[in-house]
């Protein structure tokens, strides 16, 4: 049981937006979708929701093509937030829930429950346009959740949230995933993605270029050697065989080719004075992201 994005392609005139974009998100899995602006994240999500149509490829849920009935079971938060500005919060949530196929009574119950959970229950009778930006975001999330979706697709759900709201949002996403719902969200906040997600996909130029669990991804990256030698002048590691300098600083970060000898690096470092740290580490998601996106 999963949500499968299967080789979807999309062009806008001469611009290729997606090139056989492929990934799948299992039930109960939190999938982080990262990539630079314009890499194709929003286009992929819009196609999954049927808001856009793909030139080729398919979106499947539980091995069936996603049709309108299936889409009613998806909770969607578009990148460009959208609600009726002059409609009251409560009425709006009930309307959206009903539109997704809920009965009026269930819709009322659910909108009450979600506004409570998101701490905006006292705003039920306020027009959306009168709320603060943060509260509008919460209503937007409630709008994505109110119909008890079986799949969640959220485009940049964390952008514009204050730290408290970030915690609320993270908690909600974890809970939904724990309920067995596949959750896909895109974000530029890579530390958040690293912390929250079971798996991550990195997109570049409309293609999935790297994917896997955070650990897998980090291990797939070139390991880096951190050397802390306080007295070493800048340029001390230049010219060592098989060594590429990532950066000089309080800690020098190096990448070594397969043939290079880390003990030789250590000797060179000791030659400049004391060495306080000498360690191998996998790159962080942010470092990996830079590396993948640059390539």
């Amino acid at each position: 049981m999963s949500l499968d994005i299967d080789r979807i392609s999309k062009r806008y005139g001469d611009v290729v937006a997606l090139r056989e974009m492929t990934f799948s998100v299992g039930d109960g899995e939190l999938f982080g979708f990262v990539g630079s602006n314009g890499a194709g994240k929003t286009t992929t999500m819009r196609i999954a929701l049927g808001v856009l149509s793909a030139d080729s490829g398919a979106v499947r849920w539980n091995d069936k093509p996603v049709d309108l009935d299936a889409r009613r079971q998806i909770g969607y938060m578009p990148e460009e937030r959208g609600l009726y500005p002059k409609m009251k919060v409560g009425e709006q949530l009930v309307f959206l829930a009903e539109l997704h196929g809920m009965s009026t009574a269930d819709a009322k119950r659910a909108s009450l429950e979600w506004t409570k959970r998101l701490g905006i229950e006292q705003k039920l009778d306020d027009e959306v346009q009168k709320l603060s930006l943060g509260n509008q975001q919460r209503v937007q999330l409630a709008a994505a959740l109110v119909h008890d979706p079986k799949v969640l697709i959220l485009d940049e759900p964390f952008s514009g949230l204050d730290p408290v709201a970030v915690d609320v949002m993270s908690e909600v996403l974890r809970t939904k995933a724990a309920d067995g719902v596949p959750v896909v969200f895109s974000s530029h906040q890579l530390d958040l993605v690293e912390r929250l997600c079971d798996r991550v996909g990195i997109v570049r130029d409309g293609q999935m270029v790297a994917g896997g669990t955070v650990d897998e991804l980090r291990k797939s990256g070139t390991p880096r050697l951190s050397v802390s030698a306080p007295d070493a002048p800048t340029g001390w590691a230049d010219g060592l065989a098989g060594v590429t300098v990532v950066e000089y600083g309080p800690t020098t970060v190096l990448e070594l080719s397969e043939t290079a000898d880390d003990q030789q690096v250590l000797r060179a470092a000791l030659g400049t004075g004391p060495v306080r740290e000498f360690s191998w580490a996998a790159p962080s998601l942010t470092e990996l992201f830079r590396e993948v996106v640059k390539a």
Partner: protein, 390 residues
């Protein structure tokens, strides 16, 4: 509930609860009631107050009778003497007085006298003088009377007079102005609604769960129903006012015209609403609304001007020739029917043509809407919106 109904319900509730909708309705009702009641108040001047005095007192009865016969509205009274009569005319208590002076007659008025009153009085005075002279010369009064009676031409009408002509004219004017206003007003409501969804981006959420045609039809239905309610209210108030003043008779004809006007309202609304919605979907900001709705407003204005021109001409005229054309017909057909000019065949032809036009408009409008409603930013051309897919 089906999505179309849900969307229609939301639109209807949003419109009907809107303050400006209610204020607009009240203002329209006041204008309609005023337009019907006020003219009858102003027109009711009670006819010409005419006085006879002294030697002309004998003319009192013949004048009243002659006025009745010629359908001239005057009230004849008798005043003590010429000086009083003149004074009362000056005060405005009387409109005119007939006095004998210097061996002749004078009609004393403040400024002017209605020509038909003057003609009537002149003829009567002359007739009386001629009669008196002839009798003095020895003519038999009875013979004189019969000769005079035989020499009075009778009116022979070739076509029967329509006693309802004025009412029909009023009704046809009322119908065309109401339909014109309502179609323009609701059209811009549809356009504003489409742009509101687009500019607030809520359309993306909506279209992730309903199809574009469902959103479009729900919106058009909901706003259409709100407009119908408004129109029915207006109609009821208009009829009540008309009944109160007696300017329109509430008979089968009147109700027929109202029923047909409502039918044409719906036909016109579905046609125009689709066009307005499609036009509005081409732009992303409320400020750009004029650029897309003006051309559509123009078609309605042309129809309205033709109808106004037609109201003031007798017979169907130019409006009768073009009333069947889809787009013009929602205003011109009801106007022609109210004026009593349209035949059943013409009406059926117009309805058929309009239904085809609605179908075409829905097809093209739906396509344009679907292709442009999710494209944000710069204005999209009609051509591009028709061509592109997805």
């Amino acid at each position: 509930m089906s999505p179309v109904i849900l969307i229609a319900k939301r639109e209807f509730n949003t419109r009907v609860r809107n303050k400006s909708f209610l204020i607009g309705l009240v203002v329209t009702l006041v204008i309609i009631a005023g337009a019907i009641i006020v003219p009858t108040l102003i027109k009711d001047d009670g006819g010409t107050k005419f006085a006879v005095t002294g030697s002309t007192t004998s003319l009192s009865t013949p004048l009243s009778e002659a006025a009745k016969k010629s359908n001239v509205d005057i009230t004849v009274s008798t005043v003590d003497d010429a000086a009083t009569a003149t004074a009362e005319v000056k005060d405005g208590k009387l409109d005119a007085a007939l006095v004998a002076r210097d061996g002749g007659y004078r009609i004393v008025v403040k400024e002017e006298l209605k020509p038909e009153v003057q003609a009537l009085v002149t003829a009567l005075v002359q007739q009386q003088a001629t009669g008196a002279e002839l009798i003095r010369k020895g003519v038999d009064p009875a013979e004189l009377a019969s000769v005079t009676a035989a020499a009075t031409p009778k009116l022979e009408t070739l076509e029967p007079v329509d006693p309802q002509a004025a009412a029909r004219k009023g009704m046809s004017f009322l119908v065309s102005i109401l339909l014109f206003m309502q179609l323009i007003l609701l059209g811009s409501m549809v356009a504003t609604g489409v742009i509101e969804e687009k500019s607030s981006r809520v359309v993306e959420i909506l279209l992730s769960t309903v199809r574009p045609w469902q959103l479009l039809s729900g919106k058009v239905l909901g706003i259409g129903m709100a407009g119908l309610v408004q129109l029915v209210f207006t109609g009821v108030v208009g009829l009540a006012a008309a009944k109160y003043t007696g300017s329109i008779q509430l008979d089968g004809d009147t109700f027929g015209v109202i029923g047909i006007s409502l039918l044409w309202f719906l036909l016109g609304f579905f046609f125009y609403a689709t066009l307005y919605a499609a036009g509005a979907s081409l732009v992303s900001r409320q400020e750009e609304i004029q650029s897309v709705i003006t051309p559509i407003n123009m078609i309605l204005m042309v129809a309205y001007f033709i109808s106004v021109y037609s109201v003031n001409t007798s017979g169907p005229g130019f409006a009768g020739k073009v009333a069947w054309i889809p787009g013009l017909s929602p205003i011109l057909m009801p106007q022609q029917i109210a004026a009593g000019h349209a035949s059943v065949a013409m009406m059926l032809l117009a309805v058929a043509a309009m239904l085809v036009a609605i179908f075409v408009a829905a097809w093209i409008g739906g396509k344009v809407y679907q292709n442009s409603v999710l494209r944000f930013g710069a204005r999209i051309s009609w051509k591009a919106a028709l061509r592109s897919t997805g």
